[in-house]
């Protein structure tokens, strides 16, 4: 709507009431806090038409008013900072009382600069030590992070890394994760502002994993001292999304209920035990190089595979967990998704979603022992995970021209005439991202990928 106002004509938006703060936060960031919108009690998605009409009826006066008079500009929720390269330094009094011990956390919480869990105080000395773990300059800007259009400088990332409990040897992984988010095909804006609950999953490959202390064995995605590096890196990315991207709970972040995985997820491939080549080698890296992949996901769901005795059993079991109609299955027939970047909303097409399947080494071995490569397994899943075409088109049609011809994949339109036709749930086998990690037993995790994915090298000192 801000783009429309910028083009010179008035606009009014209709939004669900639970998104009101998120809406205001976004238009603040977009530079027009007075953008008009009305709220209705519930999101229209999934509602019956009569109910939607009744909700609109109650707001029609506000809609007309929004087109005919300029709204009073609300006070900006947070001061827009600009220009100065000098990071503010605050002095906080601490003492041994319970209040005194918590004074740094209270100071940060009062400014909404936290994920709600106590942090390590980001002192100048700690930040300086973190910055020594990279050759990048403190004021280098890795990206402009939305929805707040915050400048992700190396120094700000380091401050958030300290807060999360990162050690310097883990900092290059975090910087690489931010490099991933900077790629347009990551669609980080939608990851940040969607009402749908999703979180970034960081996948680490190569020697950096061991050097940084990332656990890739038993319990790697869980709590515990052995997982402190995994936890700290994942948490640091979330703190960056909050403090650099201004994706604050209930404001930039309007998730309907959120996910515990949003506190952070970082795992490394168990390359020592996996029977297959590591994921980053699939992407063109050398085995002795390090790479980080970030992918936006919801879930996970644990797949219990105790009864399988063959690779087909295991893949059948994994496939059975995967799809329901509204999860985007078959959506590739509607064309690639669009990411939008920056204040101009520049549109970038990308392929999605990618669904990570986190395989225990034991589950990879049952496949490999039968002579199945990773690509064979992906191909199998691609062929077997299918969606009923009629049902998919009924949920939401594909783009057509004026004569009803499909704009994408016209060579497949003949399938419309077959009431029993099915199509692959995903466009290509590679979209089943098989990643081998954790303890070696009969389990797997399946994540629904939602938006983009990117893989970048890790730059070490």
């Amino acid at each position: 709507m801000v783009a429309v106002e910028k083009a010179g004509i008035p606009a009014v938006a209709i939004a669900a009431r639970s998104f009101a703060r998120a809406w205001q936060s976004c238009v603040d960031g977009w530079g027009q806090p007075s953008t008009a919108f009305v709220t209705i009690p519930h999101a229209t998605t999934g509602q019956q038409a009569d109910f939607i009409r009744r909700m609109v009826d109650e707001q029609i006066d506000g809609i007309i008013q929004g087109l005919t008079s300029i709204q009073t500009s609300p006070k900006m929720g947070r001061g827009v900072q600009n220009g100065s390269n000098a990071t503010e330094v605050f002095t906080v009094e601490m003492d041994e009382t319970p209040e005194g011990l918590d004074s740094v956390n209270r100071f940060l919480a009062e400014r909404d600069w936290s994920d709600g869990i106590p942090v390590v105080p980001p002192t100048p000395i700690a930040v300086e030590r973190m910055l020594k773990a990279t050759n990048r300059q403190p004021q280098d800007v890795l990206m402009v992070m939305e929805p707040g259009f915050g400048l992700a400088t190396v120094e700000k990332i380091a401050i958030n890394a300290v807060m999360a409990g990162c050690r310097p040897e883990q900092f290059p992984i975090l910087l690489a994760a931010i490099d991933c988010l900077a790629r347009p095909e990551m669609n980080h804006r939608d990851m940040q502002v969607s009402g749908h609950s999703e979180a970034p999953l960081i996948l680490v490959n190569g020697p950096i994993a061991k050097k940084a202390g990332i656990n890739f064995g038993t319990t790697a995605m869980g709590p515990g001292v052995v997982n402190s590096a995994n936890t700290a890196v994942g948490r640091a990315l979330r703190l960056c999304l909050i403090n650099i991207g201004y994706c604050k709970a209930g404001e930039g972040d309007p998730n309907f209920v959120g996910l515990p995985t949003k506190f952070g997820m970082c795992i490394a491939e168990n390359e020592e035990v996996s029977p297959w080549q590591p994921y980053h080698v699939d992407k063109g890296f050398q085995r002795d190089e390090s790479a980080v992949t970030v992918i936006t996901v919801t879930g996970p769901t644990t797949i219990i595979d105790s009864s399988s005795r063959s690779p087909e059993d295991t893949l059948d079991n994994i496939a059975s967990m995967m799809f329901y109609r509204n999860a985007g299955a078959g959506g590739w027939l509607r064309g690639w998704q669009s990411a939008q970047v920056g204040h101009t909303n520049q549109r970038v097409r990308y392929q999605g979603p990618y669904h990570p399947v986190i395989l225990s080494p034991s589950r990879a071995v049952i496949l490999a022992e039968a002579g199945m490569s990773k690509q064979d397994a992906q191909q199998w899943l691609h062929q077997k995970c299918r969606v009923d075409l009629k049902s998919m088109l009924g949920a939401r049609d594909v783009p057509r021209d004026a004569d009803g011809k499909w704009l994408n994949y016209p060579e497949l339109q003949y399938l419309e005439n077959d009431p029993n036709a099915t199509v692959p749930a995903l466009e290509s086998p590679e979209q089943y991202l098989l990643f081998v990690t954790g303890g070696t037993t009969h389990y797997a995790h399946f994540f629904y990928g939602t938006y983009g994915i990117a893989t970048v090298p890790v730059y070490e000192t």
């Binding site: 783009a3 429309v4 106002e5 083009a7 004509i9 008035p10 606009a11 009014v12 938006a13 209709i14 939004a15 669900a16 530079g31 027009q32 007075s34 229209t44 998605t45 509602q47 038409a49 009409r53 909700m55 609109v56 809609i63 087109l67 005919t68 709204q71 827009v80 900072q81 600009n82 100065s84 990071t87 503010e88 330094v89 605050f90 002095t91 906080v92 009094e93 601490m94 940060l108 002192t123 259009f149 915050g150 400048l151 400088t153 700000k156 401050i159 807060m163 403090n243 650099i244 201004y246 998704q337 669009s338 939008q340 204040h343 909303n345 520049q346 049609d397 783009p399 021209d401 009803g404």
Partner: protein, 102 residues
């Protein structure tokens, strides 16, 4: 004990977009109805059109957001209007009412 801590909050790009001039009346105007192709947004903007038609004379409507509408290929499917589209919309209509299903 005094402890110095550094601000974790990033500087932000300070965009400023002035609001567009408002209409004095909707009578005789053309109103754009934008839905981003998420569920029910089309129903919401269609209802707005019904109300406006009843209250104001000679109002016309243009619908946007329909990558599956014949004659309107690929315009803002589930995403935000970009500058090029906004510029085109501004030439075709006098104001826009949008719904995003959220």
């Amino acid at each position: 004990m005094k402890l110095q801590i550094m601000s974790p909050a990033a500087d932000r790009i300070d965009f400023k977009v002035p609001p567009a001039p408002r209409l004095t009346s909707l009578e005789g105007k053309t109103i754009g109805l934008y839905n981003n192709m998420t569920g029910g947004a089309d129903v919401a903007v269609d209802r707005v059109a019904e109300h406006i038609s009843q209250r104001f004379a000679n109002v016309k409507f243009e619908r946007y957001g329909g990558d599956i509408r014949s004659g309107r290929p690929i315009l803002s499917r589930g995403v935000h209007i970009d500058e090029e589209e906004a510029s085109r919309i501004a030439k075709e209509v006098d104001a826009v009412v949008g719904a995003t299903a959220h």
